[in-house]
Amino acid sequence: MLHDARGYREAVEAALADGHRFASLHASDGGSVVHAALVAPDGAVRLESVRTKGGAAPTVVDVAPAAGWDEREAHDLYGVRFDGHEPLRPLVDHDLVLSHWVVPVRGEDAYQVAVGPIHAGVIESGHFRFHVVGDRILHLDARLFYKHRGLERAAEGSSLADGARYVGRACAACAVANGLAYAHACEVSLGLEPPPELERARTLLLELERIWSHLNDIAAVCAGVGLAAGNNLFTALTERARRVNADLTGHRFLFGAVAIGGSSLELDARQVGAARDELEAIGRETVRGWRELQFSASFQDRLPDIGIVDSTAVARLGTVGPAARAAGVALDVRSTSARLAYAGFECRLPERPEGDVRARLEQRSLELDQSLEIALQLLEGPLQPTAATSVGKEDPVGVGLVESPRGATLCVVERNGNRVQRVRLRTGSYANWPSVAYAGTDNLLPDFPLINKSFELCYACADR
């Protein structure tokens, strides 16, 4: 709903008081309108909007701190000023000098350690500026957007079908989640609803993505500790999971498998049977490997009590996904996904939801088991191509929300006929980067790579 400045703030505050969660904020129409998306406990998304006045809109960052990055981005890309957001530091804009984007840290023996944008391993590009005393981190400024390709802007004016290519290419590791959030947004806008067979196909794709991704994340934590045997085992399983993807869809990262208005995925009895067998085998190997990790004392010693993001911080920072659940917050879009085959889904939480590296690792293992169970169920029989059905209720704006391997991913599509007028993709990684910076604070610098690995966020997803 479009408000004036005061009405907008009141609407956002009322929604938050009503149990809604802040999910996204973006500027559109050349910076003349700002839209905030809020999600109700039952999964319904509502947009509260405000027309900017003299290029300015009221901030909501005081009531929804998770909007911090969104407002900074809207300022850098659309020139919107947010009254009350002080200081409004740059996020996407790289043309400003260091002092503009770094939080000032002063005091005896405080100094800075600059890391990146190029890192030592095979890692995406991004810059971390640590403010430390000795080995202890006082504060961390993450400067991303080295990989900013302007994908949202490039998608403007293209057909809805072409828009999917831009959104899908934002990130290979979340190609299904991002593509599906976009497809859902378009379908909501076009008044299309998925039949059960389409829900089944898409849920299967989402879980296949989560399976390889979580295997990769466990391998990454093993690499972060330096446990080569664990890393070898879980990278081998990641390879097997990607081969299953290729066997089922023709692409190891499931590119092109999600489309607007239907699915062309066709799997016969032999294909689903072979995939079931392989996923069961991966499940058995995962259990075996996980047990071995429990008995590796040098590995386990590194995990607890570092990089803590507890349930209070989750609520404040708007943390999503496995990182939120590892702090005991039962937040999972899958439990409220009306357009996907997740009936009866309940998220699993770790025994010790302490929000540290150990809890986040354990959360991956719990979810991996669950995802394998879901995928095996969905692979019970052959799969036919299907099309969404029209229910005739069109809207120029549509919102899609799905649970990516890294957390809630939201896509807003503003449509002009069959063309994309504006698309905004806010991924789980984007939501969680501020939590990584928070998690590093007060920890030892040498523990940071491991803390970072325990989130294993994409830079590409955030930078777009």
């Binding site: 790289h94 944008p117 190029i118 030592a120 391993g121 095979v122 890692i123 995406e124 590009s125 957007f145 080295y146 990989k147 900013h148 390709r149 302007g150 994908l151 802007r153 490039a154 290519r165 831009y166 290419r169 934002a170 990130c171 290979a172 590791a173 990769n216 045997a229 070898n232 085992l233 990278t235 081998a236 990641t238 390879e239 990607r242 190891r252 990262f253 590119f255 075996r288 490997g289 071995e292 008995f295 590796s296 994409c458 830079y459 590409a460 997803c461 930078d463």
Partner: protein
């Protein structure tokens, strides 16, 4: 853990990669110049037990100062132009550049033109092209191994 390691060793025999001459090696430095993270994920798996490129003398090193090959992914964003050139100029000569993935090769690039500076070969001399979106680990492994052989011609040996 020991039985696990034994099982993992078996995986290496499941793929027949071309064996370069013994006693040769290449040190690789990877730079992500704006990729979608697909090439990185596949490159990471070239050190998984299936491919294990280190056994052929191909290792990823932490600094361009120690590298023979610069392995570049992505369409080269304006923001990664300077870091990419800095890394290249930090390398000792002779040095080689490999463009990994379709974006780095300038194929089917998506994005706003003013955020991209163009494919890798508009900035650096490219010695090896590895197409694919993203190229599978086996493709990457096979291509890099050909570079170990090509290196022999390169330094006239």
């Amino acid at each position: 853990m020991l039985t696990l390691l034994r099982d993992l060793r078996r995986l290496r025999r499941s793929i027949a990669l071309p064996r370069p001459d013994r006693g040769r090696s290449l040190a690789l430095r990877h730079v992500d110049a704006g990729s979608c993270n697909g090439c990185e994920h596949e490159l990471t798996l070239t050190s998984s037990p299936y491919y294990d490129l280190q056994r052929f003398g191909l290792g990823i090193v932490a600094s361009p100062r120690h590298a023979d090959v610069l392995l570049v992914t992505g369409p080269v964003t304006t923001r990664m132009r300077e870091p990419l050139l800095t890394a290249y100029h930090a390398m000792p000569e002779p040095r080689l550049v490999a463009a990994l993935g379709d974006c780095a090769l300038g194929c089917g690039i998506l994005g706003a033109p003013d955020e991209l500076v163009g494919p890798v070969d508009t900035l650096l001399p490219v010695n090896l092209r590895i197409p694919g979106c993203p190229p599978a680990p086996e493709t990457i492994a096979t291509a890099l191994l050909s570079l170990v052989d090509g290196r022999r011609e390169h330094d006239g040996g």
